[in-house]
Symmetry: D3
């Protein structure tokens, strides 16, 4: 097994940005998701807040969008990618006291936007954590994962 | 239940940065952790890479440290906090094909560094994802959580 | 009249960061304000939005807070200042179709936070502009000014 | 009146980045302006400085250009836009002791550069404020507005 | 000799971003290099480190890549340029106790990537300095220069 | 020779931010310098420009100051350090067609500002390069080095 199984390591095992010179500009899309588990009390407060003014979720959404635009500045070997749009959605699961966050990032560019979608849900989740940490320190962010990906040479991906 | 149960919302439910004017500069420390689950193949490659040159883990560590210094720029209501140090550690669990990431952030400041520690593990995990995504798209980042926290008026916290 | 009447120019007229080495760490506070004039239609939509979910104003508030933390990165000769808090407030003037934005920034540091308070209202106003630009291109941001300042050797200031 | 009159709010009233996937890359241009009113003394110093070395205005110009390139990082729902050029111009009005700042931003992209032009004049004005604040705290930045806009589906705009 | 011999100054001598509106998107490439001279002791430690884990060089490489993506944010009149790839290479010269750093930046864009390549080697060199400064304060970074450039209207350049 | 001769590598050879928890806040100062060698033609233009409006040097100075404030964001293991002041000076050497750049950074903090001073001269030099690159591609930046350092436990340093 050689280091260059990793596209982000060169033949000497050193950090390697993938060369996208010969890639085509095509429509690329990625969907990611994660879950934030809260205590019952914290969950209920966020849900009630969401039904009225909704600022907890709104601030988390803004944080996710803004972080997504900074992905190349956070993840060392990511390219700068001009996003067409990044969107986030938040669903409350009243039985497990968790918030399910999904994101969708799109671009017309030479490389995909998996990391942009994943960064969006991660920072949105961390922002919910930050908003709730004074009332609940047990919060757990889990299942940050890619749901779907389309566009590009490597083809489509659908998590089952 | 009023919105101002959230320290990050004011009495009108609007976004609120906590006023740290009257807080004392004291030593504050936070430990966070998360797990990255990989396919067997990807896990073995990262582990073998770690035993030789180790660049996958090293790049993830650098990403975690650098992101931690940007926490206030990523999470809307976080204060700018000058870190004394942020450190990360990575352990391979050969039975579950997962990498356990821990971080420790310290400061002498008027507010804690929970978010800095959590941001460190999150971006380190996302960077492992990025390094491995060409060989494994099923990677899952789980259990981003606070392990321990000390310093400050709100007292110590230890996850059980 | 010599160039060095400007504290930000040295005796040769060249850019000059003020040396704050000998200044004391004291509590400093600054209040700034501005007005955003909209068309009647746009104003009414923002006001109605504010009475229900309020996202236009909320996003502007977040933008103001986040920009304030970046002041030293935007204004070339500003020092890095760790803020205790920055807060913004928005008032609707139904007669003039304008939104009055005020900000208050505080720190315990060796230099004041005028620019942080002014940057907060400016970016909040520009964000309202951005949110409304699809329905009104005549929006005007006016009267960005310092209202009050306290702390530091130069003494207090109160706009009359 | 529904929230989605705002292109930056979705049908649920939540923050919404406009999807530019289907927009064409075309030449887009935006002109913005603002005025900075100073005390007679401060105005005269800046004007005299401008006639000799001119560093006050030059630093303001650099600040405006650099801020314009950061627009997407300052205004939450703005896209990353690669600018062809951003330029600023400063005119002294000796009768009103004010400086009239204009900017022009251009791109070949899928969305316009109004916010880039407006951000440029705003940060240039704030930088003049910063350069002069030790001699004048009454400075007022006013009439930040769009002058002209061309390119894109929404057509041209000319302020009368 | 007029100021506008400088493409980055306009006819009045004021800062000027070059207008790339009418330039074509073509493949552009730039190679830069520099040398870092260390004490014999520090050089030997970095070389030995490189033969085992190699983290000094690896961290310098990551720093170079990440800084390169920020070039427009560091050099006032640079355009935002989406890089296809930036790569760095490090060679040890055992006779002069120096490390020779080369970089190669590529893009398909309307302007070249000289500054991106030069920024990459400069920050990689400064990072080696930072890593070694506790054992050697005499380190000297020298010969930061463009080696080669291709693409664009101004034609190719090869340093002899 | 063990990896932990490097303060920036831990005992396993992994990246290590120095822990400054137990360090005292003291006055710290660092002076750095570098030289930019130009062609005779380019040198003369910059010198003439400097005698009139001086924008080439002024823009380089602003770039150096702004970059210095970003040092921790550029060099992976640097701490965030609030600067009291950073200043740069430029001298023309008519015999060698070179510009000698010096910087001085000061802080009251728990760690030194060597890297801040070195980053300031480096980015100022790169900005001169950028301003002159349309008329001279042979420009060489040399001798980036620490001149002097005071404050902190490791004592003073004076380059001979």
């Amino acid at each position: 097994m050689k280091d260059n199984d990793f596209s982000h390591l060169d033949e000497k095992g050193s950090a390697n940005m993938v060369d996208i010179s010969s890639k085509n500009i095509t429509k690329r899309e990625a969907l990611a998701s994660c879950k934030v588990f809260l205590s019952k009390a914290a969950f209920n407060k966020v849900r009630e807040n969401d039904m009225s003014k909704g600022n907890v979720i709104n601030i988390a959404k803004i944080a996710g969008i803004m972080a997504s635009k900074k992905t190349h500045d956070l993840i060392p070997l990511c390219h700068q990618v001009p996003l067409n749009k990044v969107d986030l959605n938040f669903q409350f699961d009243n039985s497990s006291y968790s918030i399910y966050i999904t994101s969708k990032a799109t671009t017309d560019w030479k490389t995909g936007v998996e990391m942009e979608a994943l960064t969006a849900v991660s920072l949105a989740a961390l922002t919910i954590y930050d908003m709730c940490k004074s009332i609940d320190k047990t919060i757990k962010i889990t299942d940050i994962q890619l749901e779907k990906k389309s566009g590009g040479k490597s083809g489509n991906y659908n998590r089952k």
